[in-house]
């Protein structure tokens, strides 16, 4: 099984998927949701992190923040009930929970930069062993740049989680010795959730806490091209 998994990996992501040895995107989002304490104030980044909200039972009292001036963000509206004045940071229509509030951008980023958010969850192009994050610019010099609130969230939230696939579509590790893409912030990431593992950024480097069944630490090191430590718990995908 392991040998086949490795062969599948060499052939690219599709081979892995067919063997089922990875978490799907819903399971990845659900795994992060489990680590968010009840009652936290949380900002979920655009893309996959947004889907964590689907796994947060309202009874847990987690309050979602949106950069564009919302606390208490609720799920998308029923079809036909979208309000163009009520959108999230990804500019998709959303709703407001009971007890939610609106405020201007300066106050919204005071919440972010002033250390008032308990957690933010961001996507990544690369995360280094020192917890450096690159998630706003894929390096191409002729690309149209866009940074949004990523740099503010990365330095401002008390804890920064990264949620991302372990490898790029081309099969390259998103965990790296040193980021080659432009940085969002240095040394900001606390924990990384991938489709294969949960990994903490520590002063001693990356420590694997959980690994998806069927993988060994050695295999994870090999595809990451990194020395990873830890005595990970094996978990179901």
């Amino acid at each position: 099984m392991h040998a086949r998994a490795q062969a599948g990996w060499v052939d690219g992501e599709r081979g892995m998927t067919s063997l089922g040895l990875r978490r799907d995107r819903s399971a990845m989002a659900a795994r992060v949701a489990r680590d968010i304490p009840n009652g936290s104030y949380v900002n979920l980044g655009i893309g996959l992190p947004t889907r964590i909200a689907e796994h947060l039972n309202p009874e847990r009292g987690v309050v979602l923040h949106s950069e564009n001036g919302i606390l208490g963000m609720g799920p998308p509206p029923e079809p036909g009930n979208a309000d163009p004045d009520l959108i999230n940071a990804g500019k998709e229509p959303i709703t407001l929970m009971r007890g939610g509030s609106f405020f201007d951008h300066a106050l919204s980023f005071s919440m972010i930069r002033g250390g008032h958010l308990d957690i933010c969850v961001l996507g990544a192009f690369q995360v280094s062993i020192a917890g450096d994050l690159a998630n706003w610019h894929a390096g191409a010099e002729d690309a149209i740049p866009a940074v949004g609130g990523a740099m503010d969230l990365a330095i401002g939230a008390r804890r920064v989680f990264v949620l991302t696939e372990h490898l790029t579509r081309a099969g390259e590790s998103k965990l790296v010795e040193k980021c080659t893409y432009p940085l969002t912030a240095a040394g900001c990431v606390d924990r990384i959730y991938t489709d294969l593992a949960v990994i903490d950024v520590t002063p001693e480097g990356l420590v694997v806490r959980e690994i998806v069944q069927g993988w060994t630490l050695g295999e994870l090191c090999r595809i990451s091209r990194l020395k990873l430590r830890g005595n990970p718990v094996e978990v179901a995908p």
Partner: protein, 232 residues
């Protein structure tokens, strides 16, 4: 007592001259003062510096202003959108200058201008390529960048309700940059959905006090069917 309410959008943007720096509210299309932007295009001012979170969508609003070649420079946090083709083409052709500013730094630089703050230090952007050319300093063991205020000649914003004194309330997440931009321009112009009488806005609920607002114009009629206007 004179009212700040002007008759139409043409009057509202009167006096905006070429070379002006203009703050434009909105996050995507929420809070975007579309009618004021259209009037600004008709007004003809060029060589503008625009400060706004995005650089336009499709061929409307800020994109139309760019397409009309009125803008020399834009400061924004997120110019790239799925439909930002007007900006993208001008940028790739080197026909517009871009100053990319992290969103929180953009809001705070505008706030600093409105609050009379000379400059401020922030951790955002330290150690990144956006730190190039900026003074830095270690404060409490953490790297910070020195950021300067963004002063403007005009601010174009969209609010929900206004009174003749220029007091404003907003609607939902259309508030975004409006209140902070209103403080940072020599002349702030607000387009609103409705004008109410003096005393009709709850003083506890006024978000932008009239001291920050020079002109108000009512632009109703663009609301989608089924929307209910919030009451004063």
């Amino acid at each position: 007592m004179s009212s700040k309410v002007v008759a139409d959008v043409e009057a509202a943007v009167g006096g905006i001259e070429s070379g002006s720096t203009i703050l434009i509210g909105g996050f995507g299309s929420a809070g975007l003062p579309s009618e004021l932007i259209d009037a600004l295009i008709a007004n003809g001012a060029s060589d503008l510096t625009i400060v706004s979170n995005n650089a336009g969508n499709g061929e409307q609003g800020i994109a139309a202003l760019l397409q009309a070649r009125r803008v020399r420079k834009i400061l924004c946090s997120f110019p790239r959108q799925s439909d930002s083709f007007v900006f993208d083409a001008l940028y790739r052709a080197g026909e517009i200058e871009l100053e990319l500013v992290p969103q929180g730094t953009l809001a705070e630089r505008i706030r600093a201008a409105g609050a009379g703050i000379g400059a401020f230090y922030t951790q955002t952007g330290f150690g990144t390529r956006l730190a190039q050319g900026k003074e830095s300093r270690i404060i409490d063991g953490k790297g910070h960048l020195l950021e300067h205020p963004i002063h403007a000649d005009f601010a174009l914003i969209r609010a929900e309700l206004a009174d003749p004194l220029g007091n404003l309330t907003y609607r939902k997440s259309a508030r975004n940059f409006g209140p902070v931009m209103a403080t940072a321009a020599r002349c702030t112009i607000a387009q609103v959905s409705r004008v109410v009488g003096i005393g009709e806005l709850d003083p506890e609920a006024i978000v932008t006090p009239g001291i920050f607002v020079r002109r108000v114009v009512c632009t109703r009629g663009r609301r989608q069917a089924g929307w209910t206007e919030s009451a004063a």
